[in-house]
Amino acid sequence: MSSTTSSSLPIAKAITAALRDAMHADDKVLLMGEDIGPLGGVFRVTDGLHAEFGSQRVVDTPLAEAGIVGTAVGLSLRGYRPVVEIQFDGFVYPAYNQITTQVAKMHNRTSGLVTVPMVIRIPHGGGIGAVEHHSESPEALFAHTAGLRILAPATAQDAYWMTRQAIECEDPVIMLEPKRRYWVKGDVDPDHRPELSAWQAAVVRPGLDATLLAWGPSMPLALESAEAAAADGIDLEVIDARSLAPVDYPTIVESVRRTGRLLIVHEAPVLGGLGGEIAARVTEQCFYHLEAPVLRVGGYHLPYPPARMEHAYLPDLDRVLDGVDRLLEH
């Protein structure tokens, strides 16, 4: 971060920069989606790219998600590297068949003769006061399907580099972008590829008493909770999962073996969420080190509620600290 070239950018703009740099680096990279052209996307993530690269590389598509993802598969077979934007998390389901049965399986189906290097960008998560279907966290609905990878950056630097690495990856990658944090700034150094790969978790705050695992939009909350807990004399280690498929278990397990306790925080409903799988695996690998069951703080088993109730649905500082208390009570 000390590079002279690093600059402070909002997460959305870090992704814009990553897309622009990837498009310059490889002329097979192209962008597709609804309203990503002259408008620059509803979150302005592709702002300026249509003007710079034209309609052949920044494609405003018809309004049909299966068509977008399905034609991206075809383009990737022809050697292109499409980066698809799904406008909001709740609108990815019309493309679910293409993602689950085609994108995920084409490489396997052809015994590796065909690759489908494509990126599906999805602004995800809640807390933006939106109407129905605009605030979902569908990671578990994709993580179960072999053939897919999922990244969830939480900082501008990660947003930049994980986008670059996702585009370079020969496997299809779903990028879950922390919608609510798009305008939060952070340092980005586009000239020095970080040592930590996109597929690794990061210990972002070392601690001794318990491990707190989160990702994407929940990371600031995790760090804030650790600060608040520190004020109460509780020393939390905070891990940013970064990659949700595959999850970097070695880093998490190493931490939990030290701390003996794990709290997972995510916005998706706890029931059937990614936290369950992580809890099960970590418990298997850390059974004799655990002083408490792995606990989870997340959404309730409900459809995402209307905006004026979402504060009660989303994990917040008090709910995380409550989880920490329950974890330490054991």
Partner: protein, 371 residues
């Protein structure tokens, strides 16, 4: 394109639709004045909603400005027993169905995901996942067939469904599948697109290089294109189509050409993608002005009526304003109420956890500590 009222209010005869309108008593001067009033009312409510959004009272507002004729016409073309299946910008349709504007605002304010009783008002909830409501409309129409309320010849019995979607939504595969089911089962459903020229920033040409009305012909579903800023053309065409559907003659598709005068929503900036000249061009085709000019030519409207409408509209806007400002946020515990219709142990456990958690703060308030 069917047009009964030119932008300057001139009335063009249309033997077929004129007969339909006359039979149904839908084009009497009194009715016309009613449509005028309706359009003025919902425009005022719409503008007020935009200003409520700016005041932070709504999370979002999707304005229907410019689409008043397309919506009031379609809404009034339906009979009471018909079932209407809107998208999320159908404020005029809702008004015609008797849904108070504040019910619409519940969704945009963020206190509920839908504001009215679909069965009582025979109007589906606003739907946000584009195209997803279209198969519901067809299924409902298949239900009507099974209920024996299609093709009986009794106008009070025969029932149909009006399925609404935008030009952008027309590209969704679920809309195409709806055409397939409707055609296959000859379901009593009328598909109705308000082609307002834009799907957010994407012009209709990206969805179809040929007139959108042509789309349904691929299934042998007859279609017509009407001037959507002409309330009489809309009324006539939609009523004709609904009557055919009710009579058991199968589905029809109608494309109403209109214009989204405002930005896509209050979050959108239309200047990024469309020229001001286009907006001006369409301003000249304003549906409200057009009906007023027609009424004036007929000598069926006077200053007094116009002023009364404006006053009523102002009152409505004020009412809306007060209603919204007075709306209390619901207790979040209600989010647990309706995930399931029957008892569900996980939801009950989550509710109990939530209540326990909340109770801590009540305790804290007493003891002054964090739990």
């Amino acid at each position: 394109m069917i047009q009964l009222l030119a932008p300057d209010g001139t009335r063009t005869p249309h033997p077929e639709l004129d007969a339909v309108l006359e039979d149904a008593g839908l084009a009497t001067p009194e009715r016309l004045r009613g449509y005028y009033r309706d359009m003025v009312m919902i425009r005022a409510a719409d503008l007020e909603a935009t200003s409520l959004q700016r005041q932070g009272q709504l999370g979002l507002w999707a304005s229907a400005l410019g689409q008043e004729a397309a919506q009031i016409g379609a809404g009034h073309a339906a009979r009471e027993q018909d079932y209407l299946v809107p998208t999320y910008r159908e404020h005029g349709v809702a008004w015609a169905r008797g849904i108070e504007p504040w019910r619409l605002l519940e969704l945009f304010r963020g206190i509920s995901h839908g504001g009215w009783d679909p069965n009582a008002l025979r109007t589906h909830p606003y739907m946000i996942v584009l195209g997803s409501q279209a198969p519901h409309a067809v299924g409902y129409a298949m239900g009507l067939q099974r209920d024996g309320v299609v093709g009986t010849g009794d106008p009070g019995t025969d029932t149909s469904v009006l399925a609404l979607f935008g030009d952008g939504a027309s590209s969704e595969g679920e809309v195409a599948e709806s055409f397939t089911f409707a055609a296959s089962f000859q379901a009593p459903v009328v598909f109705y697109t308000q082609n307002n020229q834009w799907a957010i920033s994407v012009p209709t040409q990206v969805q179809s290089r040929v007139p959108l009305a042509q789309r349904s012909r691929g299934w042998g579903i007859p279609s017509v294109r009407v001037d959507g800023n002409d309330v009489l053309a809309v009324l006539g065409a939609v009523r004709t189509a609904l009557d055919a559907a009710r009579a058991g003659e199968g589905p029809v598709f109608i494309e109403a050409l209109t214009y989204r005068m405002a930005a896509h929503t209050t979050s959108d900036d239309a200047s990024r993608y469309r020229p001001a000249a286009e907006e001006e061009e369409w301003a000249a085709k304003d549906p409200i002005l057009r009906l007023r000019l027609h009424l004036e030519a007929l000598g069926e409207i006077d200053e007094g009526f116009v002023t009364r409408c404006d006053e009523e509209a102002h009152d409505l806007a004020m009412q809306l304003h007060h209603h919204i400002h007075g709306m209390e946020d619901p207790d979040p515990v209600h989010m647990f109420d309706h995930a399931y219709a029957e008892p569900h142990p996980i939801v009950e456990a989550d509710r109990a956890d939530y209540l326990d958690y909340i109770a801590q703060f009540e305790d804290d308030e007493q003891t002054g500590e964090r739990a």
